[in-house]
């Protein structure tokens, strides 16, 4: 038998089947069965009949959107400065912003909590604020990196062309720089938005369980051995994430014809 290049993909396909396809099938199976193992739509009815469930979902969305927005607001100008050789002569500064990612996530978040409490922003009293701070702090590098790489690739001459054609710096920023870095913005946003939806460690630690995000809600049911309802909610999140990917795809038409990784 001749060796064909596609055989190289066998380990990967096996991995996918074991750790992606089968678990997803399990989720679907549990979601549509009841405790006794019979096929049912009890979970669906239960989810939408209790307002708390939907609220948690909406709150999670709100946190994800706010987090993404703040990360972009801080990360975009930051990436611009980092990508500008005039201000950033070496990549040391970039390193500085990436380094927190090397520290264990739990330790980092606990440390954030202690620092916040120490400077007087109590995690108990200002749970919403501290959660947002924690989320932004954790996800900022994921915004800066893709934006930084897009901006490095960006040709200065297009900015000059824009100025040359009569667009003042303000117009140049909104009509040229932002649209040209759109692929970077979209991948940065997806890198923040989706993980925030399912994150729960940060909100748990930084809000002393006052802020419950969808991720911790799912975790709660799994811990209580209610696998069926947990699975159903996991499925909902899967669908929502799929939907948001689909929507961002529409916006992130890469100008070079290639598709972004999302």
């Amino acid at each position: 038998m001749k060796f064909r290049r596609k055989y190289l993909s066998i380990p990967y396909v096996l991995f996918l089947v074991c750790f992606v396809v089968i678990p997803v099938l399990f989720i679907v199976y549990y979601a549509f069965t009841n405790k006794g193992g019979q096929l049912s739509i009890d979970n669906l009815i239960r989810f939408f009949s209790d307002k708390t469930n939907v609220d948690v979902l909406l709150i999670s969305f709100a946190y994800a959107i706010i987090n993404t927005f703040i990360c972009l607001l801080i990360g975009y100008p930051l990436a611009m400065v980092l990508a500008n050789r005039k201000y950033n002569k070496s990549s040391v500064l970039v390193m500085l912003f990436i380094m927190p990612m090397w520290i264990n996530f739990i330790i980092r978040t606990s440390a954030t909590r202690d620092v916040l409490n120490w400077i007087g922003i109590s995690t108990g009293a200002h749970s919403e604020l501290t959660t947002i701070i924690g989320l932004v702090y954790n996800y900022l590098p994921f915004v800066v990196l893709p934006l930084y790489t897009t901006m490095l690739k960006m040709d200065r001459s297009q900015i000059e062309a824009s100025l040359d054609l009569g667009a003042n710096p303000f117009h140049t920023f909104f009509k040229t720089i932002i649209p040209m870095t759109m692929p970077g913005i979209v991948s940065a946003a997806t890198m923040v938005f989706m993980p925030t939806l399912s994150s729960y460690v940060i909100s748990d630690i930084l809000s002393e369980y006052n802020v419950v995000l969808f991720g911790s809600y799912i975790d709660l049911y799994f811990n209580q051995a209610d696998w069926n309802f947990g699975s159903f909610m996991a499925l909902i999140m899967l669908l929502l994430i799929g939907l948001s990917v689909f929507i961002t795809r529409k916006f992130s038409k890469d100008d070079r014809g290639g598709r972004s990784i999302w």
Partner: protein
């Protein structure tokens, strides 16, 4: 060139980066409607000059006047000029139409309203959609891209992108269109076509074009006026014909078209000596002065042996389509000749040149440069008929000379540099002259002495007609015989050929 209807004027413009000048003492005026070209080798400051006009760079000193007004502090978006960039710089997120319409969105048009009390006030408004549409359509038509308006720019060929870039600029009806090597990325055929089209566009639009290129042929065919630059300085400004026929110095002659350039000596009234013979010429220079002599290859006439002025041997022949190009040797000098008549290689012929086709120009001295220097077996340098101590380790960074006299480089290779060709450069202030004839390496006669404000510039000529130009504080007498000495550390050597041939 005549100052008629001046639209742009650059006065003493300098641009300094760190400690070197990219543009130095640039003085130029451009008449309305002219097609003016900045021509020069890579790195001579063409782009920098253009960018200062466009507003992307601020001059270190000097003024830029547009219609008589200083625009030095105006940002690029407030200047009524548009640029066609070297690599087009189209907006990838916009299609062809929107790329071209980009500038129009920011334009304000003035219009007058009569108020109730009868006074008139000027107000500003943006172009309407219909106006934009009409302008874009017209621009698309000019660049011949009517069918492409909704195409993505990334799907266009290089030539088409170039046209979009031009359309995007001219649609704004700038007072001056700046073009930085706009055809550099196109293949030869496309380039020729676009040259004609650009010229045609210039004629039709009546806009002033400032064009940058390093291609002399392009400059000669397209321009009304050419500015030849080197090292940030203007070498010559003139019409293509002027520049070709009357180059101001050897650099211009060499850069524009092919030329034979020799160092000659004036030996009498309108008599110049080069190629080992005396030639009649029509330029008047002081007797004894060293000059640059330029002869165009097409101006050298091949005659049967004995009928011309100097004997030569044809050593090479290339057919160039409509003419032949011969290389002939006169002694050690090469002569390039272009003619339609055929001759055989290795025949001996005689060459002649009409007096009015021998162009003589001042030789600019800024340093003593000896192009035909070489290293002898004792690691000394030979030039100007003498042998000099020198430091050969300056040829390659980090190199050294071992006890056997071999040259070794940091990568561990060893070389025997005997006969290596180098260029020796000595600053005029670093040459010492003395009336003790035993003191220096060679003797010569002072043939000229000029007072330069705070010192004398002296020319010492050896018996072999080699010159040393020396800055000195002391007074000498013309025709004094002196000896010449150069400190070892002051002889700058640069490689003239590939050193790898000398590896052992």
């Amino acid at each position: 060139m005549a100052k008629k209807d001046v639209i742009l004027e650059l006065i003493n413009v300098n641009k300094k980066y760190e400690d070197s000048y990219a543009v130095e003492n640039f003085n130029l005026y451009v008449n309305k409607g002219e097609f003016i070209t900045f021509l020069g080798p890579s790195g001579c400051g063409k782009t920098t000059t253009l960018r200062m006009i466009a507003g992307f760079e601020k001059p270190t000193s000097g003024q830029i006047l547009l219609n008589g007004k200083d625009i030095g502090s105006l940002p690029p978006y407030k200047r009524p000029l548009n640029t066609v960039f070297q690599r087009y710089a189209l907006f990838p997120h916009l299609d062809v139409y929107d790329n071209i319409a980009f500038g129009l969105k920011f334009k304000k048009v003035a219009y007058e309203v009569t108020k109730k009390d009868g006074t008139k006030v000027t107000k500003y408004r943006k172009f309407t959609r219909e106006e934009v549409d009409a302008k874009v359509t017209k621009a698309l038509k000019i660049v011949d891209l009517e069918a492409f308006e909704s195409r993505d720019v990334s799907t266009l060929s290089g030539g088409q992108q170039q046209r979009v870039a031009i359309a995007r600029a001219i649609v704004n009806e700038p007072e001056i269109l700046l073009l930085d090597e706009p055809l550099g990325a196109l293949d030869l055929k496309m380039r020729k076509e676009m040259q004609l089209e650009l010229k045609e566009m210039h004629r039709k639009l009546g806009i002033t074009f400032i064009y940058v290129t390093h291609d002399q042929e392009e400059a000669l065919t397209m321009s009304d006026m050419i500015v030849v630059m080197e090292d940030g300085q203007i070498q010559q400004i003139g019409t293509p014909l002027d520049i070709y026929n009357e180059p101001k110095n050897a650099f211009v002659a060499d850069f524009i078209g092919e030329s034979n350039i020799y160092v000659g000596t004036m030996i009498g009234n309108k008599k110049v000596r080069f190629l080992g013979t005396t030639w009649e010429c029509i330029d008047d220079f002081p007797v004894n002065q060293k000059v640059d002599v330029v002869v165009r290859p097409e101006d050298v006439i091949i005659k049967p042996l004995g009928e011309g002025a100097v004997k030569a041997k044809i050593v090479n022949k290339i057919f160039k389509g409509i003419h032949y190009q011969f290389t002939a040797m006169v002694g050690n000098n090469e002569v390039l000749i272009q003619t339609t008549a055929d001759h055989e290689v290795n025949t001996e012929v005689s060459l002649s040149i009409e007096p009015d086709l021998i162009q003589i120009m001042n030789r600019a001295y800024d340093a003593n440069i000896y192009q035909d220097a070489y290293i002898n077996k004792n690691n000394k340098v030979v030039f100007a008929g003498a042998t000099w101590d020198c430091d050969i380790t300056q040829l390659v960074n980090g190199s050294s000379v071992d006890e056997k006299g071999y040259f070794s480089t940091p990568d561990g290779k060893k070389y025997d540099l005997t006969d290596l060709d180098v260029i020796a450069t000595i600053d005029m202030k670093d040459i010492e002259i003395s009336d003790d004839l035993e003191d220096g390496n060679i003797t010569g006669q002072i043939i000229q002495m000029v007072w330069k404000g705070d010192h004398y510039q002296v020319i010492v000529r050896t018996e072999e007609e080699e010159d040393f130009v020396v800055d000195t504080e002391w007074t000498w007498n013309e025709l004094d015989t002196v000896s010449v000495k150069i400190p070892e550390s002051k002889i700058k050597l640069t490689l003239k050929e590939d050193i790898s041939k000398y590896e052992i």
